[in-house]
């Protein structure tokens, strides 16, 4: 009988109050049949929510990790705020809150951070500013290293330049209108170009693995290479480039499987001995159930209970 991913884990809803007074909603999933080997915080990218990381979460719980996924504030999903008010700073604040909550959850267990796309930039900022390592390992999935450039690619215009000229107070980025506060925060808080990212990454003292795609329409691979290839990095740096895929890797199953292999091996440091790919029907089951949970704000997970697909 095929294994059912939901039989392998227990999921519960969590709420975290951020120092800014916002409610951050998350889902913690724990392996049911084995003691956990660590905790992985999963930070979503732009226009991405908890349920978009259901499949990676299942891969990680399957090899023994507790995963903590959350929705950013001032974003899509169930945390407070609207995406109109999104800024890189609010993303970074969310990450700090999520990491603090996860460290309580982890106790003595290793804590890892997996940050995707735009949130990867926020993760680099947060970890570079920490006085001591917040995590044992950082994974950056399809990291945005030059926010201004990616924003321009997604919006079809140099939004920062338009804002600087006073021509806009809001702009459509992909499927949502974001206020000019995003551009203002970008400049004022120094998120700028990839050189800033490179400098901050240099100061992160834990191993960092980044996964990029060859044909990413939103992120220049040579900038990722340059960002990661920082001399005097204080800890190992790995970059995996998946060929034949673009930024929306979720719609490319073979590339997604390759990404999952890197995710598992990158956190376990092992040669994927435990790795077993999810089947089509398992993925269908997971995605369907998680979308159903998301539609009611994960309220059905409010109490600690077994979840069956």
């Amino acid at each position: 009988m095929a294994s059912r991913p939901f039989d392998e884990r227990v999921a519960r809803r969590v709420e975290v109050e951020t120092p800014q007074g916002n409610k951050l909603v998350g889902v913690v999933a724990e392996p049911k049949e084995r003691p956990p080997r660590g905790v992985v915080v999963m930070s979503p990218g732009y226009e991405r929510c908890i349920h978009h990381y259901a499949v990676p979460s299942c891969y990680l719980t399957r090899v023994g990790y507790v995963t903590f996924r959350f929705d950013h504030t001032n974003h899509v999903g169930h945390s407070d705020g609207e995406i109109f008010d999104l800024t890189m700073s609010s993303m970074a604040d969310d990450l700090r809150s999520a990491l603090k909550e996860a460290s309580l959850l982890a106790g003595d267990l290793p804590l890892h951070l997996v940050a995707s796309s735009l949130s990867a930039r926020a993760a680099i900022r947060v970890l570079s500013q920490a006085s001591s390592p917040l995590v044992e390992r950082l994974m950056l999935l399809l990291p945005v290293v030059d926010v201004r450039r990616t924003l321009a690619a997604a919006a079809g215009a140099d939004v920062v330049a338009l804002w600087e000229r006073g021509e806009i107070d809001r702009y459509l980025v992909s499927e949502h209108v974001v206020s000019a506060a995003f551009a203002r925060d970008l400049i004022e808080e120094g998120y700028g170009g990839f050189e800033a990212t490179q400098n901050e990454l240099r100061g992160i003292t834990v191993p960092v693995t980044a996964v990029s795609t060859q044909a990413d329409e939103w992120v220049a691979l040579d900038e990722v290479l340059a960002t990661m290839d920082a001399d005097s990095a204080a800890a190992p740096r790995h970059l995996v480039v998946i060929e034949g895929s673009s930024h929306g890797i979720g719609h490319n199953p073979p590339a997604l499987r390759a990404l999952m292999e890197v995710l598992v091996s990158g956190t376990t440091d092992q040669a994927n001995e435990e790795m077993k790919h999810l089947t089509f029907s398992e993925i269908l089951s997971i995605v369907r159930a998680e979308r159903a949970w998301a539609s009611v704000g994960y309220q059905m997970l409010r109490t600690e209970q077994e979840v069956h697909s």
């Binding site: 790995h238 034949g244 390759a258 369907r288």
Partner: protein
């Protein structure tokens, strides 16, 4: 003393073993339907590769190819694609057709409208590629977007079982938020009307279902005096009339009712085409023309002798679909239709499919026999 560590970047490039050129095109490609020589050559290469795969890994297809004295090396030009041996629906009904891919298979069942069910085995990769064809079409004709909700007049996956049409409808949940309005065998029109009326205006609503249930929905809405607005949404019909063929209404009449009752623009009422033996879903553009996707070869054959029809001549539709791995996707259909090419009113150029009607009656029996003979005796 602070020691500065210098760490070299370790870079590893990888291309997934199971990401072929065809997969990359399906999952990442875009529609540029100009039938360039390159595109035609690429399609032929994909089909040649698929034929070779099935000849070696399918006992049935290998035997069929030998009976036709066929080898992939014969495919030197686009006209040679007509040499590819085709599998008749009778073979699928007799459960003889599968290609060994070494994995668990989902047995996909037709609705059995014609009396017996076809059984088509699909492995995970074949199912992934089916989704790939859907997402390719979505990118081409609907713009991929997260802020879309599918309202499906069909059951969810766990109730759909192995019935192919219902199963395919249920796969929408992989792509977008989806609600299903056939549950526990009951079609829930009031619930669907409520969902339409309470829909978030910033989320595009896409109503999908067989035309018979769409008509039933309209009957329900009109009899209850409800007319939810689907101005910014879509209506996709799928699956044809099947066992309710005697209730069939003309497309124009259905569209007029949809425009009147749901206020959906005509350009947003689209039909889709698929059949259990075909691993590709074919979509219509805003001009309501069915565009044949670049990897799929459609050959039209005259019913009386299975010779190739001229462009725009009506005949039996046959397909060469290289996306199927666990069964040979080189099939006869039970449909009569035409293939044309050129420039579509939507502005895209390419190849266009018109499905006219099912092969029926005496014609059906004779045609089926010819297809069987053509398929199994080497022409």
């Amino acid at each position: 003393m602070l020691t500065e560590h210098v760490t070299a970047l370790d870079v590893h490039r990888t291309r997934p073993d199971d990401l072929t050129e065809l997969d990359e095109f399906l999952f990442e490609g875009s529609l540029d339907e100009t039938e360039t020589d390159d595109l035609v050559r690429q399609r032929m290469a994909w089909i040649r590769m698929a034929v070779s795969h099935h000849m070696h890994a399918s006992t049935y297809y290998g035997r069929l190819a030998r009976a036709h004295e066929f080898s992939p090396e014969q495919l030197t030009g686009p006209d040679d694609l007509a040499l590819v041996p085709l599998v008749s629906s009778g073979a699928f009904k007799a459960r003889r057709v599968a290609t060994d891919v070494g994995e668990r298979l989902k047995l996909c069942l037709s609705s059995g409208t014609s009396g017996t069910q076809s059984i088509v085995p699909r492995d995970d990769r074949t199912l992934e590629r089916l989704i790939g064809t859907v997402m390719f079409g979505a990118r081409a004709f609907f713009r991929s977007r997260e802020r879309r909700r599918l309202l499906v007049l069909g059951p969810p996956t766990d109730e759909a079982g192995d019935l192919w049409f219902s199963y395919v409808l249920s796969l929408g949940g992989l792509i977008n938020d989806t609600l299903f309005f056939v549950r526990d065998g009951v079609t829930r029109f009031t619930e669907l009307a409520d969902a339409l009326e309470s829909a978030d205006p910033d989320v595009e609503q896409m109503l999908i279902g067989p035309p018979a249930l769409i008509v039933d929905l309209l009957d329900h809405l009109e009899s209850h005096g409800r007319s939810p607005q689907l101005t910014n949404g879509f209506v996709l019909t799928a699956g044809g009339w099947k066992k309710r063929a005697d209730e069939r209404v003309e497309r124009e009449e259905l569209e007029q009712r949809l425009v009147r009752t749901l206020s959906v623009p005509l350009s947003r009422i689209r039909d889709t085409f698929n059949m259990v033996e075909l691993n590709t879903v074919i979509f219509e553009c805003e001009a309501r023309v069915k565009h044949v996707p670049p990897w799929l070869e459609v050959l039209v054959r005259r019913p009386h002798d299975m010779s190739l029809a001229e462009p725009d001549e009506t005949g039996v539709l046959t397909y060469l679909d290289p996306t199927a791995l666990s069964y040979p996707g080189f099939v006869f259909s039970d449909d009569l239709g035409r293939l044309t090419s050129g420039e579509c009113p939507c502005g895209r150029s390419g190849r266009f499919l018109t499905i006219e009607r099912r092969v029926a009656g005496i014609e059906e029996r004779g045609c089926a026999l010819k297809m069987q003979r053509y398929s199994e005796s080497g022409g």
